[in-house]
Point group: C2
């Protein structure tokens, strides 16, 4: 069976090389994430943040803040994987501003089509794995998805507060909408939400965020 | 002991809040990583890549390519943590171009001072943890550090090849220097190095990278 074994090994080597080539095409395709710009601005240059930078910043938040998660035992690797891929769909679907309720109406449909194409570039087992991570993030039911969501909501609030509320002012966002949009942070990390509430009140007190309009 | 218990709990709460506040100052400080620009350019806009985007792209490489690591059982979480923090020192020390041998002479010293300051912003246990991750990455001895290094070297090569060798041309880099600088990829991921060698030869054949000068 030696020659058959040799053939088998060659087939295996070819298949591994094809698999790697496909994975690298995926890695190259998602380089595009660096050109998807968000509403939030960075603290130093005051230019809009892009999705790739944002995704890195969230990963950094996770490894720094994981101890504060509501869940006693959190699968930190799973949280990181989720956040590394969570915005890839925006390569096709674009960034949807968190307070743009019109664009949010068909957001999930647009993003699900993007997920089909982009995760579909990978070998089938990884298409399923990465799509599973994205679905889990979107459904926000597991402790890992809840914590990932908490940092995904907290980080833009932090940047907004430290840039004198630039993105909020530009879109006329008021305190009540910030609270309504972001209070889900508490489901993943109650302690972080307590911090965020005080931070937002600080922004109102400093005149960087308007209070709720009077009824 | 009820009142003593109450006092103890208040002390604990205060200490947890202080700890969180300190961690958030660290998270805000490293927002600066988004303004540290590298020699490599992104494939779409052709503008220089920054360290934050680069760090995210490496994390994506890790979760896509981990199966190809030389090490049979790789601690993927540790690799990710290493890569999330590996470039933070450049906030103070700046990016050192991989082929700038003059700047590389005192690079480690400059970066070690930066590590003291930046990781020192965290609570002491995390200062030690993150500094340990950075030291491990720098020493390149563990399977995790070797794999992290492999993707850190491969990703710029991929972007250079897909941007017609822009960064190589600008600095007059030749094939022999690319090989000498990056062959350590094989120590973490032999299969990725086999791919990289062919990719580099393809860049030479296409006229995007000069062959070694004749002796």
């Amino acid at each position: 069976m030696r020659s058959g074994g040799g053939f088998g090994r060659r087939m295996e080597a070819t298949s591994a090389a094809t698999r790697l080539a496909r994975q690298i095409e995926f890695i190259f395709e998602v380089d595009k994430l660096k050109e998807i710009f968000r509403q939030t601005i960075n603290s130093q240059s005051r230019r809009p943040e892009n999705d790739a930078e944002h995704s890195w910043h969230l990963c950094l938040c996770v490894i720094t803040l994981a101890e504060h998660a509501n869940a006693k035992s959190l699968d930190v690797l799973r949280v990181l994987k989720m956040l590394i891929v969570h915005d890839l769909v925006e390569i096709d679907a674009g960034d949807t501003f968190a307070y743009d309720t019109a664009a949010m109406a068909d957001q999930h449909e647009r993003e699900a089509r993007a997920a089909d194409r982009i995760f579909g570039l990978l070998p089938a087992d990884q298409t399923n794995e990465f799509r599973g991570l994205w679905d889990e993030f979107e459904e926000k039911q597991t402790p890992e998805a809840k914590f990932a969501t908490a940092v995904d909501r907290f980080q833009p609030m932090l940047l907004n507060c430290r840039t004198e509320g630039a993105a909020w002012k530009r879109h006329g966002i008021t305190q009540d909408r910030v609270i309504a949009r972001n209070q889900h942070i508490a489901e993943g990390c109650a302690e972080l939400w307590r911090y965020a509430e005080k931070m937002v009140q600080g922004a109102v007190d400093a005149g960087h965020l308007k209070p709720a309009p009077q009824a």
